[in-house]
Amino acid sequence: MRLRLQLGLLFAIAGVLASCQREDRILRQPPPANDILNTIQISGLNPGANSIPTPPSSNMYQESAYAVSEGQKLFEQYNCVGCHAHGGGGIGPPLMDRDWIYGSEPGNIFATIMQGRPNGMPSFRNRIPEYQGWELAAYVRSLAGLLPKEVSPNRPDQMNVKPSESSTSEQKPTGITGVPEQHK
């Protein structure tokens, strides 16, 4: 009985602690690191063995609901919607499906935003601060349903991301797999 009570308390505390970061608002950003971009690889094909370090796959901004909704605001403001619409795509590829040409890890998306990609994606390096790149990356992942429900903006003004009725297999993130995925 006593043990069960203790366990229950422990789980309650763990639950509270786990949801803490959701409400974190980083208002004064840490100074940017200069060489983050150089550590992000686009594909797993390396010249030589391990010449490029592994990319940072975690994005601290995607744990905060505030940062993700800031990303949502920036997505509109920096006219990402001009090509990607509100995730549905248009001139640019859709962002709410499971196909990723350049990888779906936070680091991949960040690199895509900062470096630009062939066929039209412009480079935002030196145009936007790095933390905004990460906020955008977090929001883009939320479009595809890759973020936990509690941090994704739950009242989007535009299309809502929901799995379709007929979908059977679970959506899985696709990371760096060696070969860039083909856009179907």
Partner: protein, 333 residues
């Protein structure tokens, strides 16, 4: 010197920011309503206290006999019910009088008589005010921020809107509050008698920096207003020295141009305040800081320290880049 410092540290000079110091006919109507309501309620308060004190003095309750024996007193009962009925009647009449006065002054504040007003579009943003002087010709439209210039003795029609949340436009010495609702355009008007600078403030809680969302109204004679208009219509002046040329380069190659407009350059984003004539304004960051080189530099490098949560992103520029940028911005008269 200490006095001057104090005045500078208090941008909201109470002399120009007070319901009881009206500078416009509408604020005068509001002040009139305020005082008349004040004196009526003051009289009610005094009467209440007197009646209460009288009742307390007349009471027959003594310490030995806390509960007096009640006898049937029809005459006294009748008098008491007359008293209660007349008190209720007077209360209703008083409230009705206040209601009528309120409707009358509301009508006076709303009614626009002139057919030749100046029109301004005010759009609320988190946390600044976008001010546009619309014109049917696009190149005759003025866009500025946080500092509203108006001619004196001329009605000013204000069209309102908001891009994000509900804000409220309130210049206490000019007129009443008006909410700016996102996606809903409404209009009101005001007119100012006396030339001067009047301060205002967002009066509807709108997020982290609600308290630092101020604006000012510069009321000036019509010729000065027109001169200001002519100056604002010009595109940004070309940089006159090497330092300013470099500053413009810094502006156009960093994050600045993602949000701000400087007409006459490639920077054309409408997300932040228009900076074409930023040096002509008295204050920056929605009346938060005086427009000096020091505050500009501080605001550019670390805005999140000055207004935590603001949309302005920090810009860790190299010192000489920052210096040039500030010199360029200060040249934008």
């Amino acid at each position: 010197m200490p006095l001057r410092f104090l005045v500078q540290a208090m941008p909201l000079d109470p002399g120009h920011h007070h319901v009881l110091h009206p500078a416009a006919p509408q604020a005068g109507h509001i002040e009139w309503l305020y005082w008349i309501t004040f004196w009526i309620l003051f009289a009610v308060f005094v009467l209440m206290i007197v009646a209460f004190a009288g009742a307390a003095a007349k009471s027959g309750v003594v310490a030995d006999h806390p509960l007096p024996i009640l006898e049937k007193d029809e005459e006294g009962d009748r008098r008491a019910s007359w008293g209660v009925a007349s008190a209720v009647g007077i209360t209703v009449i008083t409230l009705f009088v206040i209601l009528v006065l309120s409707v009358v002054s509301g009508k006076r504040v709303e009614g626009l008589t002139s057919k030749n007003p100046v029109t301004i579009q005010i759009t609320g943003h988190q946390w600044w005010w976008e001010i546009t002087y619309p014109n049917s010709q696009a190149d005759q439209t003025i866009t500025t921020a946080n500092e509203i210039h108006v001619p004196i003795d001329t009605p000013v029609v204000v069209l309102t809107n908001s891009t994000d949340v509900i804000h409220s436009f309130w210049a206490p010495s000019i007129t009443g509050k008006r909410d700016l609702l996102p996606g809903y355009s409404s209009a009101f008007w005001f007119e100012i008698d006396k030339a001067g600078i009047y301060h205002g403030q967002c009066a509807e809680f709108c997020g982290l920096q609600h308290a630092h969302m101020g604006f000012s109204i510069v009321a000036e004679p019509i010729d000065e207003f027109q001169a200001w208009q002519q100056q604002q219509l010009k595109p940004a002046s070309a940089p006159s020295n090497a330092e300013a040329v470099r500053g413009r380069e810094v502006f156009l190659t960093h994050a600045c141009l993602m949000c701000h407009t400087i007409r006459g350059t490639d920077a054309g984003s409408r997300f932040g305040p228009d900076l074409t004539h930023v040096a002509s304004r008295n204050m920056i960051a929605a009346e938060t800081l005086p427009n000096t080189a020091g505050s500009l530099a501080g605001w550019i490098v670390d805005p999140q320290r000055i207004k935590p949560g603001t949309e302005m992103s920090p810009n860790p520029l190299a010192p000489d880049d920052l210096q040039s940028l500030v010199i360029y911005l200060q040249s934008l008269q």
